[in-house]
Symmetry: none
Subunit: 152 residues, 2 copies
Amino acid sequence: MKTISDIIEEFILSQLEDGEINLSRNELANFFNCAPSQINYVLTTRFTPMKGYDVESKRGGGGYIKIVKYTTSDKIEHINHLINNYIRDAIDYNNAVMILENLLTNNIIDEKEYKIIVTAISNKSLANPTNIENKIRAKILTNILREICKEE
Amino acid sequence: MKTISDIIEEFILSQLEDGEINLSRNELANFFNCAPSQINYVLTTRFTPMKGYDVESKRGGGGYIKIVKYTTSDKIEHINHLINNYIRDAIDYNNAVMILENLLTNNIIDEKEYKIIVTAISNKSLANPTNIENKIRAKILTNILREICKEE
DNA sequence: TTATTTGACTTTCTTTGACCTTTGTTTGAC
DNA sequence: GTCAAACAAAGGTCAAAGAAAGTCAAATAA
């Protein structure tokens, strides 16, 4: 027996053209006569990054939920492999840099992008994780900008 | 669904020639059939100094609102200004994105770099600052890689 | 047990309107 | 004619209401 979640999933899949769809949570919930949070349930259980989906949203007036499906390719295979086997839920700086070097030699990122990312994850950026998100973010952004300054 | 604020923003952008525009708050509000204060809302949320806009105005008869978009050729000056005046030691996500948009419009970063950095500082990356540097790093890196995946 | 459904409560963004301040223009006493 | 008072014409502020989406835990179903 199909659950309502299965049906909502199918519906979304059928609508997902060009690998992208914009929808309204309330409208959808209304259409399927379910609680709005059921839509979130479907999204978190069926449209996960592991399955190749990315979900973005905005609250408030004019709010929306956007689902992007990225089609698989060698590049994505490669990156998924790195994420699942080497990064997992923790990675130290040196190993992270090795992964980035790998991406660089495979032309998945260029020199400048490499530098940006190395900066983002450097100890300089991540030092002092004082539980205050905005402070960490400021550090990351400041460091990336300083890095960009250095060029030429 | 686009909000009226989005539409007003687009209109202003389309009119903003030579990086400068003069407009009447009441006329605009009338044109878009909205409250005059809605214009202020659009200005304060979308035409911020961080994005490189300056808004001046004058009240009374013959009053006006003037919007100027500043661009720069001195990359280093520009970046230092952003760091010292807007980033400082803490910045929230929305303001950080405005700064990145500023860099994008000034051709200091390109689309892909923009996406990488937005990802690095997104709440998705920074959530759960559990005091464990490597875990945060893993999240940042994972998110950046997923972002890169999305292209083409 | 595990997966699904529901609903109360929270957070974020937008819209509206009442009231405020500043600036320019008329008007009337002198 | 001058000048201050009154009036008109902008724009500014702020808080309340409205519109979405998010979270989380309890209830239910498989």
